[in-house]
Amino acid sequence: MNWIQVQTFAEGPHTYVGIEVFLPQTVEAGKRYPLLMLLHDHGEDRTQWMRQARLERYAEKAGMALALIDGNQSCFVNSVTGYAWGDYLVQELPEKLSGWFPISREAKDRWVMGVGTGGYGALMAAQNAPDAFAGAAAVNPVLDVACLYGTDYEPKPEYLFGEKEALVSQGYALSPSFQIPVRLYCDANHEEKAKQWAQNGAQITVEAVDAENLLEEAFQKYVEGGIQV
């Protein structure tokens, strides 16, 4: 594939961000490609997905574009302190990518997938902006950020989401009922909990993946079975 490393200013978080973009090896003139955005876990950065999974072998075959994006330590949501990483993910970044590259401008050609806290970010995007995406996927996602409070997680969750008691009222709580198809890919340690959480939900399915090959197996399954290009 064509690999393009982008450094740009982002208005939402008001900072410079890196983006790793992959386009098919042969870009056809006039064609606009579907886009899958990949979100990293806490403690990682945008390179996590390309280091831990062979993305190109599946994305090239599917004829799609990938964008691996930085969320720093935001979990890809708008923070109570005013850093609009969520707006960046659902609106600003797709517009920028379609403005620069031959990438589709339509929500039906756009997916988001994340791991860990990035999985939470992908599900939040699906919950808050169902009109912006055709679907979302999360690998071993954090389903309730309340679990981060009172731990050694830094920066302290209060600075991202506010007080623990106000997570629901501030809009940081996830509900398992979605308006667009959502897939959870979970290893043995996360599968039961995810199934319990999803059992009364809507448009949500849970699939098992092997912890040893977590991101690549989840990515392959989503690209080959979850996404309708």
Binding site: W3, Q5, E28, G82, G99, W100
Partner: protein
Amino acid sequence: MVLMQFQIHSKILQMETDVWALIPGTKPAPRRPNGQNQERTGPEENQEETWKVLWLLHGGVGDHTFWLRHTPIESIAESYGNLAVILPDAYGSSCVDTVSGARFGTYLSQELPGILRRILPKLSDKREDNWVSGFSNGGYGSLYLGFTFPESYGAVGAFGAGDKADADFTNIEAEKERLFGKGDLHSSPYCASQLVKDLGKSDRPKPILCHGCGSEDPWRDMNEIVRDAILSVPGDPYHYEFRIWEGLGHSSACCEAAIRYFIQKMMEQ
């Protein structure tokens, strides 16, 4: 601006190679109080816009990072808004189709623009919007490319640029043979003065030509040999301008002065 680093597969070169690009993008603005979002005013939202393109070549021992590291090229280009700067890696090729078969001239003037215009559809494909420039070996390269492939470029900015046909290859004979072949190069396809004269007699497109060097450039005489050859072309088909930057040598300071001048000249046309 936005910095993009490309890994490009070149079928012509038969290798993976680096290309950097600066493209128009949202400028950072002061942060508003209380974390309010700014208005979205970046050029990314303008679907119809196209960008003029400066193909900017490094010197003999440089690479694609040279202009970004040694000059404020981003600050210069940014002030014009709709200019993209493309920084390819030409290695030690002098940007020519070498006799040994590494066809950097064809890659730089034909293949790479085709690849990048498909990846970045806003890059203008009009000849008059595409300019090739460089310093030192890249200056020679811009003469070679502009006058070997004049259908690709509307303007040439050749700085600190002499002609390889006049160069002294003592102690680097092997490199000369690998790139340009043996013998006198004045009758070869690598002679910039001859390329400029030959194009003058043809009915192919004529790029605008801006040329010059620092007053203290140790190879100033070689720039002036090329200058005299260009001035001998009847009718001034290249709207030729030769400039000397006083007090500057074969240096990054001269690169900066020359590219600042060339970009301003082309953008204000």
